[in-house]
Subunit: 328 residues, 2 copies
């Protein structure tokens, strides 16, 4: 993609889940000056399959930024095959979590280096370098955190809930096992402190952005940050582009709308990018101190994703200027 419009020159931190965040980054990354974009990625949907450490959101971000990702599915590697998984099935192993053959290499590499004592942050940096990713990709934490979903049918790991059971069970509550012992991975707090803009990707607020905010130290870093926090809504007209965010909002007693996001992100949020179809919420959001930008936020193409990223960064910049005026 040729970049004609001026690059964003400030330091930007994006808090990211998987597919929605990857879509945003596919548009945003090429518009950033080199070395200015840091992505802090949810690792609470990490899990172990066949003895391998799988970090689905980190992988989705790396595969997308390296151009390897499957553009239709959103996860995995384009054109990947599933011969190993088929053979694991022959050994009687569970194969509901789809791991492609090339994808397996990512998990083999990660697992071996973790076992040899490297941190998830170090391994992720090695993988990003090997794949030619120039964006700085940081896992939220090196310590294992696992989203646990209590459903009508019982306790589920996040991947059991989402992939195996296809998010069909009613959600009663969500918790993050291991969160108290977790610490932000190396670079996370500094990146937040030094950022000129902080963007919450259009990811699920409970199971993607939520775990990142729950890592002890990250919410405090965001509160202390100089930069405004701008979120991009994962909802369009009360429905998520992908995933069960609306049902999770309802389970928390929140009607799925941009107002729910302002409620969930509460003290952190300065700005919100919503879909034009949701612009009616702008007045109520602004009454709560949340500045609003609206445009067509369905990211059908990298160009549309770039427009959404631009809108978020413009909103952040205007909030910065406003703060400057208030301070001055």
């Amino acid at each position: 993609m040729s970049v004609r419009r001026p690059l964003h020159r400030g330091r930007v931190v994006v808090l990211a889940g998987g597919v929605g965040a990857a879509r945003l980054l596919r548009g945003l990354a090429p518009r950033m000056a080199p070395g200015r974009l840091t992505v802090i990625v949810n690792t609470a949907d990490d899990d172990v399959f066949h003895g391998l450490n799988v970090s689905p959101d980190v992988d989705t971000i790396l595969y997308t930024l390296s151009g390897l990702s499957d553009p239709l599915r959103g996860w995995g590697i384009d054109g990947d095959t599933f011969a190993a998984l088929g053979a694991l099935g022959r050994y009687g192993e569970d194969t509901w979590f789809q791991l492609g053959d090339r994808d397996l290499a990512t998990h083999l590499f990660r697992t071996r280096h973790l076992r040899e004592g490297r941190t998830l942050g170090e391994v992720t940096a090695m993988q990003a370098r090997a794949l030619g990713v120039r964006v700085r990709v940081l896992p939220m934490s090196d310590q294992p955190v696992r989203t646990v979903v209590e459903t009508s049918g019982g306790r589920r790991s996040f991947q059991e809930y989402l992939v195996r059971d296809r998010a069909r069970e009613a959600v009663r509550s969500i918790s993050y096992a291991g969160i108290r012992a977790a610490r932000p991975s190396a670079g996370v707090v500094a990146a937040i402190a030094e950022a000129d803009a902080i963007v919450f990707a259009p990811s699920n607020p409970f199971v993607s952005i939520g775990p990142i905010l729950a890592v002890p130290g990250i919410r405090q870093a965001l509160r202390r940050a100089q930069a405004p926090v701008v979120a991009i809504s994962p909802l369009i007209g009360g429905r998520p582009v992908k995933g069960p965010a609306d049902r999770m909002m309802r389970a928390h007693g929140l009607p799925p709308s941009p107002l729910a996001l302002a409620e969930i992100y509460a003290d952190l949020l300065s700005g919100l990018v919503v879909d034009t179809s949701d612009r009616a919420f702008a007045a109520r959001l602004e009454a709560r101190g949340v500045a609003v930008a609206h445009l067509d936020i369905l990211m059908r193409s990298p160009m549309r994703a770039a427009a959404v990223g631009d809108a978020a960064l413009r909103l952040a910049a205007s909030l910065q200027r406003r703060r400057g005026r208030l301070a001055g």
Copy 2:
């Protein structure tokens, strides 16, 4: 393959390396009465690649007996792909040890179950069952034993020597790291004690059969066994069908011939099956107390392999009868 000739009804134990042993078993296994064949497999060329426990000889035997093996290469799974290995190369990993995608499933399964506390013998039995292998396949030991090859270029693991360096370096000595702490895996000693015939497959005496014999307790069990030990020569006219056995014999000061096998297996050997082209050695072998059978031992087909297996079992039976007469 239809079985017209009478089945072998006695209990047979085969000591096995990889490809040569697998060829023999492909012919022999269908001629055995159910539950009568036990294979004790070398595990000293096991190694760890990409964090996975790989047991090349066990795999070759399992893949061959389940009909999965690649008939041309002799190792790996027929029609396997190498997508994961290619992707590991992209991460900068060594990829000289060829691991196919379906083959990876075998190592993933093994590694996970070993980590969860199962023995190699238990995992091998689970894999044999999953692949429909009815022959009893026992690793020589559950403890790790590693063949170390001292070459003109330095110390090599067996796979480094054989696969990475293609056995081009001169061999100075061979040792089995971990051998003192090794014990025969469950069932090995009992199978030897109860056997009616014990066959050494046409495998390398130094790096395939040698490590099995070096496991403390196995040589003693063979000496105490009721059954005669019959070896099938891995040499034809002084050259191995595959691999560096002849050069290893020379490195040990032994001209490569059936006489060298009688020397190496010494006190254990009662009979030797040699190629017709080596029948001139028969008199000298018999003078050393080793009975000889000769036929075309190049196992071009399962039918030829069956003939070689038959010859070994007939020789063992005639030795048993002779012992019976001597005892009576």
